[in-house]
Point group: C2
Chain length 145, copies 2
DNA sequence: CTAATAAAGGATAAAAAGATCCTTTTATAT
DNA sequence: ATATAAAAGGATCTTTTTATCCTTTATTAG
């Protein structure tokens, strides 16, 4: 569904968000080991997320990554996915046709947009805050990757 | 959503199915140009689909690919997707975690399985026959890739 | 000011997906 | 039987994605 970059990105952001609610800033090593992702690759993804103002980074000793409290209710999963995977997941045809829309639909078009709209809706409706506070086993799942 | 192989495969199968209802067997060149896919790559995909008894191939002059009439109501989109992309689309965690299920769910788990189940249901419920006969502009869309 | 720490960023490498080429096998018409 | 047409299959190449390494920049404590 999502690229590896996007999966790592989402995991990283959710983890950072979680720690941020505890007023804790986290470094790359901590993040990568918590979410079980390759460190250097995760660094690249965090750079992108930093440039796109999803996370805030602080350089130097005692530095790390964090997300401002007020941003938790603003940032949606959709934004993160769009930054890391673009919008092909929202706009792409199921059969990969360039020209496929309501006017000239592929044979799967109408069945497909239904699914895609559900996904889109879900990603747009869920902010980091929502994800953190409907988590059934908060802070626990990370240990089981 | 799907890999390129799977997109080409679905397009090829739908095209072959369409032609098969007209009692017409089609060759690789015809298929690749109709569905706008790379010929040699499409050949590989058709090999896989032949081995998996989705399409029937006939070698030699006047050969080509076809789908038996009675198979049209049996073959679902789901089968084709599973053959070409495996079942990660059905079973994989949205965040890419190995261990993620109802018992130890990732933070997106319950929101995700809803989407995935919709997709699964759609692919399982639609046979080639269904796709062919709910196509709004039958035989036309291929020309517009 | 210096040493140390941590993120940023450039360059490169490895793996996977996508695509092509060429030879072999099978079947058909003449 | 032979020439030909078409799919099967092996080998190889290209591109994209995933991943690593190393140098530079920024920040902090002492």
């Amino acid at each position: 569904m999502f690229s590896k970059s996007c999966e790592y990105g989402l995991r990283a952001v959710i983890f950072i968000a979680e720690q941020s609610t505890l007023q804790t800033k986290v470094g790359l090593k901590t993040i990568a080991s918590a979410i079980n992702s390759p460190e250097a690759f995760t660094a690249k993804i965090l750079q992108i997320l930093t440039r796109n103002n999803i996370v805030t980074s602080i350089k130097g000793p005692y530095g790390g990554f964090m997300i401002e409290e007020y941003r938790l209710k603003e940032i949606t999963l959709s934004e993160i996915v769009q930054i890391l995977d673009g919008d092909k997941i929202y706009t792409g045809c199921g059969l990969g046709l360039k020209q496929c829309d309501d006017k000239s639909p592929c044979p799967l078009h109408f069945k497909f947009i239904e699914i895609r709209n559900n996904l889109k809706k879900m990603l747009e409706e869920n902010t980091l805050h929502d994800i953190l506070f409907t988590d059934t086993e908060k802070n626990v799942f990370w240990l089981k990757t």
